[in-house]
């Protein structure tokens, strides 16, 4: 793919603009959060062109934005944020992505590195046996069509009702683990059939379950409110989404949107940006189906959390209170939300598309749980399995500038194929083991695709967001053991 030849206009060290004049049809300028050094790799592919293409969408306000972990997607770039005015704007399934409510959930523990390291192999084997993972993995929970319907409406609440986890987990989940706009009537039979056997599974690809150790605490007071108290403390991070269910919902509605876009006379530079007015039947149908898939993903992570706790409890022979495995938070990073933001100084209802971006609401925001009111919403940023992950919080600046959004992870720099050509899965596993990171996977050859070399350094990504002020770093953790699907 040729390098992008357009010009970035520097606003400051971390903000770069693509002027509206770059391409005829752009309704707003593009805004990329990056360092000068990172801009070069962003140019390598046509990613800035995708930022410019998103600016064509009707109703887009302020900027078509991209976070520093931006990389090439289809239609929207991954790492893209775009807010559309609810009255005259559009909703685009491509601005959410196929894996609807792909997201991350973090648990704290009372355990320390030394005691977990002693039993790491046993623990990983237990987790691997308890949490269904891998390609085409089938769940341990069997849901009927009727239950699937309930699950789509209730999300993580459905899981808690059936004994997976606690009410406290729901409080520490974005949207309380359930979008109320869900309507199973807007979901196809195909999606239901794909979703039923996969409920409560981790899946494959870049999804994982990671046991981590806190290595640095940047904001001790904020961290302690999250239950993160000391260096060496063990955490558990879960990264998964809505599996085949979300993909089918996206596929089904992209088809509808394709027709809708021409029906409503919306001209698009790329078919994958297919969209419909938010206030149209097609737009409302998608939002209602998307909410079902988002709820499915929250239910999924809720079930997995339960099996993680069971596994820890068995291996460490302690009850849940003793383990202190409370949920820190759960965030979605592929989603569209109707939210209130300021546009041109006025309060306005907008539909925020976050495709590979994390909500980062500031202290005091009404949507965040009481216990986090003072510190802001926890933001969970996973890195690759060889480096580290970050815990951050949302800021007022994010609210003013990026529609309450920040980055979501590292961002790929090598294609899966290129990674497989350069690296062997077995070597990757051995190299990690030498560095004290144990990997358990059903498919060792695919490890190459997820090696550190395939990703940007998450430390640089989070630093840009921190310096730009759209999230504040709280702590850094490194992996100790990883389950890859």
């Amino acid at each position: 793919m040729p390098k992008w030849q357009g010009q970035f206009v520097k606003i400051d060290d971390y903000h770069w603009k693509i002027p509206q004049s770059y391409k005829k049809g752009m309704r707003v300028p593009g805004l990329i959060y990056a360092s000068e050094e990172m801009l070069e790799s962003i140019r390598e592919e046509q990613t800035p062109e995708q930022v410019a293409n998103v600016a064509f969408l009707p109703g887009i306000v302020n900027f078509s934005m991209a976070m520093p972990d931006i990389h090439w997607g289809y239609g929207f770039p991954i790492g893209g944020v775009a807010a559309m005015d609810v009255k005259d704007g559009v909703i685009s399934p491509g601005g959410v992505g196929y894996d609807i409510n792909c997201g991350v959930r973090l648990l704290r523990t009372n355990l320390n590195e030394a005691e977990v390291r002693l039993k790491i192999n046993q623990l990983l084997s237990e987790l691997f046996a308890n949490v269904p993972s891998g390609l085409g993995s089938q769940g341990r929970i069997r849901v009927s069509q009727k239950e699937m319907r309930e699950l789509m409406i209730e999300g993580a609440h459905w899981a808690v009702k059936h004994g997976f986890g606690s009410k406290e987990d729901l409080d520490a989940t974005e949207e309380g683990g359930r979008m109320k706009s869900a309507d199973p009537g807007r979901v196809s039979d195909k999606a239901v059939k794909r979703g039923m056997p996969q409920a409560g599974t981790l899946g494959s690809g870049n999804h994982f379950l990671e046991i981590q150790v806190v290595k640095e605490i940047f904001e001790p007071k904020i961290a302690s409110i999250m239950g993160i108290n000391e260096i060496g403390q063990v955490l558990v991070l879960i990264h998964t989404g809505s599996r085949g269910f979300g993909h089918q919902v996206c596929t089904d509605h992209l088809r509808v949107m394709e027709e809708a876009a021409s029906k409503y006379g919306i001209k698009l530079p790329d078919r994958q940006l297919a969209c419909a007015p938010i206030e149209s039947n097609e737009g409302r149908d998608y939002l209602a189906a998307m909410a079902c898939a988002a709820n499915y993903a929250w239910c999924n992570r809720q079930c997995i959390v339960h099996w993680v706790r069971e596994s820890f409890s068995k291996i460490f022979n302690k009850n849940l209170d003793g383990l202190g495995m409370e949920q820190v938070y759960d965030v979605a990073h592929n989603i569209a939300k109707l939210e209130e933001h300021k546009v041109d100084g006025q309060k306005s209802q907008v539909c925020v598309h976050r495709k590979g971006a994390t909500r980062a609401f500031p202290p005091g925001h009404k949507e965040i749980p009481l216990r986090y009111k003072e510190i802001g919403q926890p933001v969970l940023i996973p890195g690759d399995m060889g480096r580290c992950s970050f815990i951050a919080v949302g800021t007022q600046k994010a609210m003013e500038e990026s529609f309450g959004s920040t980055c979501h992870g590292a961002g790929r720099i090598l294609s899966r194929h290129a990674a497989r050509r350069i690296l062997r899965g077995k070597d990757v596993a051995q190299d990690l083991e030498r560095r004290g990171i144990i990997i358990k996977t059903g498919d060792i050859s695919s490890l190459a695709e997820e090696a550190s070399q395939a990703y940007k350094d998450v430390t640089k990504v989070i630093e840009i967001c921190h310096q730009a002020g759209i999230s504040k770093k709280v702590a850094r953790a490194t992996p100790l053991g990883v389950i890859k699907g």
């Binding site: 090439w72 894996d99 195909k190 494959s204 690809g205 085949g244 089918q248 088809r255 790329d270 790929r412």
Partner: protein
Amino acid sequence: MVKRAFEITDHTADVGIIAYGANIKQLFSNAALALFSLITEPENIEEKIKRHVEIISEDRDSLLVEWLNELIYLFDAEHILFKRFNIENLRGNQLRAICYGENLDPLRHKINMGVKAATYHMLEINRDSDGYEVQIIFDV
């Protein structure tokens, strides 16, 4: 010049294929074969199951995407792997095909990649004197 049935291309976020065909039916059939070559090794698939697939779409590009998405669905929901595609009819925006394959047997079939959806991204069916060519990006 005889072109290959398909090739696999590189993509940062995902995986792509370029399929070829002397005619449009062969193009659709080769694109499907390319899809199952990403998922597994098609030589290990036996022809035990026969499935009829019919699709009506908005135009020919969408027809190709929906055809591949139908096969992805059949694999993900019903665990059927296909290796041969007899495109009986392909006119305008309609397709009718018989697909041959078998149920996934984890002992015999190694799944290399979980392909989740065929996308419209950069999709363009091209025709030259040798026949047809198309690039398809899959979400994996």
